[in-house]
Assembly symmetry: C2
Homo-oligomer: 331 residues x 2
């Protein structure tokens, strides 16, 4: 019995090794054979080669990825904002006062632009009204229902179908080489966690994001955490290295982003005493996705492009370097 168990275990192991060998033939099939792909593979081979001066132990192979515009689309506006708008519509019957109160009144009339004219304050009001007050478990259910059913207004696709196939391959390739992959996003941590494991293979404990206050309470004899209408951590710009330090406590050796909001995360990674790799995704493909950079209101990439050039970071052009853009796997 024991011997049989060992043999089965050995065979299962051998099989999984053999599968990786087959995949190893081309770990990034949706990437054209241009500089970005070559650089990524050269980096991974270098840091995983035992005995080499550039070798990085598995425990230190930390890879961090922005989410909006890096793993999935962020146009014409952040998907979390579509979620918030849908939620305002759903909650409106319980809030008759919203008919007279901005930014809600404009939103309920379908005028997103007018609603957002209130700037950060309006945005904060929208997020608070739609994200706070629930328990973490109630909120998780709301997000799960939405992400399973809601469709993007322009493409008619599920939001989780608008993820980038080349990036899914990159995540899998890094993990197959002993990297631990994390999301480090300005998006809400509890908006992402319900679906990142299924869609990206990234478990909740490896998701870092903006977060609100939480309050522990016993309700009807059961402990719950209530989401408070306050920001505990803004995981953008300077907040990204702070979030990384707080959650991971180690400096990454690999970072990918697509906007100036990711610049500090890339700087922090580039200053690792270990070899490191910084990747910017450049949205250059108006036909297959969107084209935007220095002047965009969402996902602005201006300083980042200059710094990438000055520091020889890798910039991948979606138009030139990606064979396919979207994942065809059904979520």
């Amino acid at each position: 019995m024991k011997a049989k168990y060992l043999i089965n275990a050995a065979l299962a192991c051998a099989l999984s090794f053999s599968t990786s060998l087959v995949h190893a033939a081309d770990p990034l099939p949706s990437w054209n054979d241009t500089i970005p792909k070559q650089s990524i593979i050269a980096f991974v081979e270098k840091v995983t080669k035992e005995g080499s001066a550039d070798f990085v132990p598995v425990a230190e192979r930390i890879a961090v990825f922005d989410n909006d515009g890096c793993l999935w689309v962020e146009q014409p506006m952040y998907f979390q904002l579509f979620f918030a708008l849908d939620r305002i519509k759903a909650l409106a019957p319980q809030h008759p006062e919203w008919k007279e109160k901005e930014p809600f009144a404009a939103l309920l009339k379908g005028d997103v632009k007018a609603a957002l004219a209130g700037g950060e304050h309006a945005l904060a009001e929208i997020v608070m009204a739609t994200h706070a007050g629930l328990t973490t478990e109630e909120f998780e259910k709301v997000v799960t229902d939405w992400i399973t059913n809601a469709k993007h207004p322009k493409t008619g696709k599920l939001y989780t179908e608008m993820v980038y196939q080349p990036m899914l391959e990159l995540l899998a390739y890094l993990r197959a080489n002993g990297f631990k992959t994390f999301i480090v996003s300005g998006g809400g941590i509890e908006f992402m966690r319900p679906w990142t494991e299924k869609v990206y293979g990234i478990p909740p404990e490896q998701v870092i994001g903006s977060s609100g206050g939480l309050k522990y309470e016993i309700r009807d004899g059961k402990p719950v955490l209530i989401k408070l209408p306050e920001i505990a951590h803004n995981d953008d710009k300077e907040g990204k290295p702070v979030g990384i330090q707080r959650h991971i406590g180690r400096r990454p050796i690999f970072a990918a982003g697509n906007s100036d909001g990711d610049l500090q995360m890339l700087q922090w990674t580039a200053a690792n005493t270990r070899p490191s790799f910084c990747l910017y995704i450049h949205h250059t493909d108006a036909d297959r996705e969107f084209a935007y950079d220095r002047e965009s209101h969402i996902g602005k990439l201006n300083k980042g492009l200059d710094e990438a050039k000055a520091k020889s970071w890798t910039v991948t052009s979606m138009k030139e370097d990606w064979k396919t853009i979207f994942s065809t796997r059904k979520k």
Copy 2:
């Protein structure tokens, strides 16, 4: 070449399986064969048995452990406070004003009791003065130097030699069964991370603790994170479920603590819809360690003892249930 690689890989796998089988004979050799050990093993076997109604998938096998008084000693005072005191002595030459200023003046005269008479305010002053102002990397170095060299004033041992052997075995046993082990401590997150991987096998990204503010800055062209003199998260009592939610985003199925400060973490774990296990370590051994509970100023266990009884949580008596207390492995 490929075939040989596969055979070697298979053999390596088989070997590791066979090693686990040998260890499985008694996974908790430092525990007496009493109720706590039997309950722990019964729980682990239950949740890892595929096909059983109580089976819990690997991804959800989250185990959380308090640190002070649960994994290592916390008497006669928290080890982090010994660290702070040593640091005040080391920093005193740069702070001549401390000679006249409490709580520092009392501390420098060796009168810890008088210094701490100032209560939480005094404690906060001590922690700020000794933990803030440095970059995270400078602080890591200070902690590493201290933990490698400083000796406990009563036992003359390194602090990392005062860890509990039965708990090391429990951590290893859970990990061997697919659990991910986390520390959830009121202690400072950056005070623990430099040594928890070596001592407990718990990597920095699985350490949750109290944390201060951090500020991102470019200094001499290099990005650094400066530790600020402010509390960002107090990971004690109600703060423990909050810390768990923020870092892990999943409810644990196993929790171990030793004081009322862990009660909310145990409540939160016990209310999992999955089968769960709550363990209280009861300090009952004045000869081999310390004996304290309901009246103690440090590690008070009062409400927790009552709730454990009411809810049938497992309470392990160090005197009755533990064959050995301390790890003999040199750190």
